[in-house]
C-alpha cells in the first residue's frame, strides 16, 4: 500500500469505530441542541485522534499534513453522516483566515485551538439583503469611532450564526470610492452588545441560516484583518482557501443505488420500473455524469500525489451534481406516485429523496449560484468577457439603487 492508502485505511477504521457513537443512527431523533452537543463531542474526538486540522500547521494544533490527507479523510468521513455541518464553515474559511490574517497571533492561536476542538464556532458574515452574488455591493458600514470602529447594518444567510462565538465580517468603510475599494475586513465577537441574530426558517423546515443585525456594535482597530479599503482581497482569499475539498458526485443527495433500489421495488401497470426505458435512461445518464465527476476527482488526487497541479475541471462538481440531484429527486418522488407524499423534515438529504428534493434549491444557490459558476467557468477558464457592469468604476454612493 502507498502511504496515502495506509492513511485512508487507518482513517476508515477509526471512522467505523466511532460511527455507532456519532454517526447517522446515533443522531436519529435528537433535538437541534442535542445534535450540536453530539457534534462538539465528535469534533473533540477527531482532535484527540489526530484528525482535526489535518493540513494545518502543527503550531496551531493541526497535523501538518497535506490537503491530500485532508480530502482523503473527508471522503471517508462523508459515508457515515456525522454531525460535522456546524463546523464546516468555521473550520473551512474564517478560522484559516484568522491564522493567516489575524493581527494578534497569540489570540489567533487560542481561538484556532478552541475551534479545532469544537468548543468555539466561527461564522462568515458576507452576504446581505442587497449583496449575495454581488458581494462587493454590500451596505453594512463601519465608521471610525474613537480609536476603533462602529458597525451598523444587516447580514443575511449567515450559516450557524446562532451558535457562533465569533465571526469574520466584510463592511463598507468608504462609500465615496468604487464598490470593491471601500471595503474592510474585521473579526467580531458575536456575543457583543448590539449583535442580534435571528434564525431564518428555510423551505425544508430547518433554520441553519440567520439574519444578523448590527446596531452600533463597537470594535477596536485590533479587530481589523485587512488594510482599510483592502477588505475585498481578503474576502476573495477566504473564498479561495478551500480549493481542495471532498466532493460528492451525488450533489449531497442520495446515492444512485438508492434510485435503482426504488425502481426495482416499484411497479406501474404491472411492470417493474427497472425495465422501463424512461427510468433506465435516467439511471444511465446520471451514472455517466457521476462517474465523470468521480473520475475528475480521482485523477486530480493522483495528480496532486504526483506533484502535478490538477486542471480547473474540478470546479464543475457543484454545478453539475446538484442540479442533476434536483431532477433525479423529483423523479424519485414521481416514481412513488401518491406514496411520495410522505415527508419527514428531520430526514437526511443524503438518504431521503423528498428531503433531497426540497433542499436542492438551496444547494444550487448557496456557495455560488449556478449562474455565477457558469460565469466563472466562462470568464476564468475560457477567457470570455465579463458581463456588462454599469456600476464599474462608479463611486458606491453614486450607483443607482
Amino acid at each position: 500500500m502507498t502511504d496515502i492508502e495506509t492513511y485512508r485505511a487507518n482513517a476508515a477504521q477509526w471512522l467505523e469505530s466511532v460511527a455507532p457513537i456519532y454517526g447517522k443512527a446515533a443522531r436519529n431523533g435528537l433535538s437541534g441542541e442535542q445534535d450540536l452537543a453530539l457534534g462538539r463531542r465528535y469534533q473533540m474526538a477527531k482532535f484527540d485522534a489526530g484528525y482535526a486540522g489535518i493540513n494545518w500547521p502543527t503550531e496551531y494544533g493541526g497535523q501538518g499534513l497535506s490537503h491530500i490527507e485532508k480530502v482523503t479523510f473527508e471522503s471517508e468521513e462523508m459515508k457515515h453522516g456525522f454531525p460535522t455541518g456546524y463546523f464546516g464553515i468555521s473550520l473551512g474559511m474564517p478560522v484559516p483566515i484568522l491564522m493567516q490574517f489575524g493581527p494578534d497571533q497569540e489570540f489567533a492561536k487560542e481561538r484556532v485551538l478552541k475551534a479545532l476542538k469544537g468548543e468555539e464556532i466561527w461564522c462568515q458574515l458576507f452576504s446581505e439583503p442587497a449583496g449575495g452574488s454581488d458581494l462587493a455591493g454590500l451596505r453594512t458600514k463601519a465608521e471610525p469611532d474613537g480609536n476603533g470602529w462602529k458597525i451598523n447594518g444587516q447580514k443575511l444567510w449567515t450559516s450557524w450564526a446562532q451558535y457562533s462565538d465569533y465571526g469574520v465580517i466584510v463592511v463598507r468603510t468608504d462609500p465615496n470610492v468604487p464598490k470593491h475599494k471601500g471595503l474592510t475586513y474585521f473579526w467580531v465577537d458575536m456575543k457583543a452588545p448590539g449583535v442580534d441574530v435571528r434564525p431564518i426558517r428555510l423551505a425544508g423546515g430547518d433554520s441553519h441560516v440567520n439574519e444578523v443585525f448590527f446596531d452600533d456594535v463597537k470594535i477596536g482597530d485590533d479587530h481589523r484583518m485587512s488594510p482599510v479599503g483592502g477588505g475585498f482581497a481578503v474576502a476573495m482569499a477566504t473564498l479561495m482557501i478551500e480549493r481542495y475539498v471532498a466532493t460528492d458526485s451525488a450533489g449531497f443527495g442520495p446515492h444512485l443505488d438508492l434510485f435503482i433500489d426504488l425502481a426495482k421495488a416499484t411497479e406501474i401497470n404491472g411492470r417493474s420500473l427497472i425495465a422501463d426505458g424512461r427510468i433506465r435512461q435516467q439511471i444511465a445518464r446520471n451514472y455517466a455524469m457521476r462517474s465523470g465527476l468521480n473520475a475528475i476527482t480521482a485523477r486530480a488526487m493522483l495528480m496532486m500525489q504526483a506533484g502535478m497541479t490538477p486542471g480547473p475541471e474540478g470546479s464543475l462538481n457543484k454545478l453539475v451534481s446538484v442540479r442533476s440531484r434536483q431532477k433525479l429527486s423529483e423523479l424519485a418522488i414521481d416514481l412513488q406516485g401518491s406514496d411520495g407524499f410522505a415527508y419527514d423534515d428531520h430526514a437526511q438529504q443524503k438518504d431521503n429523496w423528498t428531503s433531497s428534493w426540497i433542499n436542492a434549491p438551496t444547494g444550487r444557490i448557496a456557495g455560488g449560484a449556478d449562474e455565477m459558476l457558469l460565469n466563472t467557468i466562462a470568464e476564468k477558464i475560457l477567457g470570455l468577457p465579463q458581463d456588462h457592469r454599469p456600476d464599474k468604476g462608479v463611486a458606491f454612493n453614486q450607483i443607482p439603487a
Binding site: L256, I260, K264, I274, G277, R280, Q281, I283, A284, R285, Y287, A288, M289, S291, G292, L293, A295, I296, A298, R299, L302, M303, A306, M308, G311, E313, L316, L319, V320, E371, L374, N375, I377, A378, E379, I381, L382, G383, L384, P385, Q386, D387, H388
Partner: protein
C-alpha cells in the same frame, strides 16, 4: 499505464496534434462528402507513417505495445481535426479481436498487416439497428459465411473483416478476407466513413471465438472500439467548444462581442462541462481494460462523449448564426461526424441498456 498524461503521453498528444493540424483541413474534407468510396488518404498515410496503426499492438507482431490511453490520445486529436477515414478504430477493433481471441497462426497471418496499416480491417458485429444481435444475420457453415452485413463502417475500403455470424451451434466470431466480397456503397451524410453493405457469398472464413464466450467477446470488442470512438467524439466536442469560444470573442453585435452575453457565454460554459465529463470518463475507461468494470466504464464514456459531441455540434453552429450553416464554414462536417460516431459501435440506447444491466446486476 498512467492516466496522468505524463511527459511521454503529452508528447504523443502534442505531436499528433501538430501533424494533423498541418495536414488536415476542411477544404480537403468537404469534397469527400460528395462522393462515395473516397477517404482522406493523407490522413491514413499519416497514421501509418506516425505508427498510430501499430500503437496498441503487441511488439512481437510489429506493434508498439502501448495501450488504450495512448491510442485514445491519438483518437482525441483525430476527432479534433475530423479524421478523414474511420480505420484507426475499425482496424484496431479487428486487431484486438485477433490478438485476444485468435490462435498464434491467426495472429501471425493477420496482425502484421494491420500494424503497418497496409491492411485495413473492419468489424461487422451489428445487424441493422441491433449492435449486438443474439441471432446474427450472417450464416457460418463449413468454414464459409453467407449473408449481408449492413452498414459496416470502413467496409468499402477494408481488406478483411471480423464478423459475428450464426453457426449451427450458435453465434461465432469469424475472421475473413474480403477479396471477392461484393460491397454495396451506402451513400451517406458522411461519406468518408466508407460505409458499405458487405454481401458474403460462400466467403472462406475462420473461427475466432465460438460457444458461450462469443457474446462476451463481441461485446468486449465493441467496448474497446467504443472507448476509442469516445475519445474521438470528445476531441470533436472540444474543438467545437473552442471554435465557439473563439467566434464569441471576435463577433460583435449590439456594440460588444457576443461572448459578453450570458445566453452565449453560459452555453459555451455548459459545453466545457460536457467536454470535461466526457474526457474524464474516457481516460477512466481507457485505464480499466482488463478490469471487471471495463464494460461499465466504456458505456459511461460512450454516453457522455456522444452527448458532448452532439450538443457541441448543435450549439457551436447556433452561436455562429448564419455563417455557421454555410457549406463553406464546414461546421456541418462536425455535425455530420457527431452523428456518424453516435451510431457506430452501438448507439446511445444500446449503451444505456448495457450500462443499466450492469448497475442492476441483470448482466451477471
Amino acid at each position: 499505464m498512467s492516466i496522468l498524461y505524463d511527459e511521454a503521453q503529452q508528447s504523443i498528444a502534442n505531436e499528433s496534434r501538430r501533424v494533423l493540424e498541418a495536414r488536415v483541413n476542411k477544404d480537403q474534407l468537404l469534397p469527400l462528402l460528395e462522393s462515395t468510396g473516397r477517404y482522406h488518404e493523407e490522413f491514413w498515410n499519416t497514421a501509418k507513417e506516425q505508427g498510430w496503426t501499430a500503437l496498441a499492438m503487441p511488439e512481437e507482431y510489429d506493434g508498439l505495445a502501448l495501450g488504450l490511453v495512448e491510442l485514445g490520445l491519438i483518437a482525441h486529436q483525430a476527432g479534433r481535426t475530423l479524421s478523414g477515414a474511420p480505420f484507426l478504430t475499425s482496424s484496431f477493433g479487428m486487431a484486438k479481436a485477433i490478438e485476444i481471441y485468435g490462435s498464434d497462426a491467426q495472429k501471425e497471418k493477420w496482425l502484421r498487416g494491420l500494424a503497418s496499416g497496409e491492411s485495413i480491417g473492419v468489424v461487422a458485429i451489428a445487424s441493422g439497428a441491433d449492435a449486438l444481435p443474439r441471432q446474427p444475420r450472417l450464416v457460418f457453415a463449413n468454414d464459409r459465411i453467407d449473408g449481408i452485413a449492413t452498414g459496416a463502417t470502413g467496409g468499402l475500403a477494408a481488406d478483411m473483416v471480423v464478423a459475428l455470424a450464426q453457426a449451427p451451434e450458435g453465434p461465432v466470431l469469424v475472421v475473413a478476407q474480403l477479396d471477392g466480397v461484393e460491397r454495396q456503397a451506402i451513400s451517406s451524410f458522411d461519406n468518408s466513413r466508407c460505409v458499405a453493405d458487405l454481401h458474403f457469398a460462400a466467403t472462406p472464413a475462420e473461427i475466432l471465438v465460438e460457444g458461450q464466450d462469443t457474446q462476451t467477446a463481441a461485446l468486449h470488442i465493441l467496448a474497446l472500439q467504443a472507448v476509442i470512438t469516445a475519445h474521438e467524439q470528445t476531441g470533436g466536442a472540444e474543438a467545437l467548444m473552442e471554435t465557439a469560444r473563439d467566434y464569441a470573442l471576435t463577433r460583435r453585435a449590439f456594440g460588444q462581442v457576443i461572448g459578453a452575453f450570458q445566453s452565449v457565454k453560459h452555453r459555451i460554459a455548459e459545453l466545457y462541462a460536457l467536454v470535461e465529463l466526457a474526457r474524464a470518463n474516457c481516460i477512466h475507461a481507457a485505464s480499466r481494460e482488463g478490469k471487471d468494470d471495463f464494460i461499465t466504464a466504456a458505456a459511461a464514456a460512450r454516453l457522455s462523449a456522444t452527448e458532448a459531441y452532439d450538443t457541441a455540434a448543435r450549439d457551436c453552429i447556433q452561436i455562429h448564426g448564419g455563417i455557421g450553416v454555410t457549406w463553406e464554414a464546414g461546421l456541418h462536417l462536425h455535425m455530420r461526424r457527431a452523428r456518424s460516431l453516435a451510431i457506430e459501435q452501438g448507439n446511445t440506447l444500446f449503451w444505456e441498456d448495457i450500462l443499466v444491466d450492469r448497475l442492476t446486476g441483470e448482466a451477471a
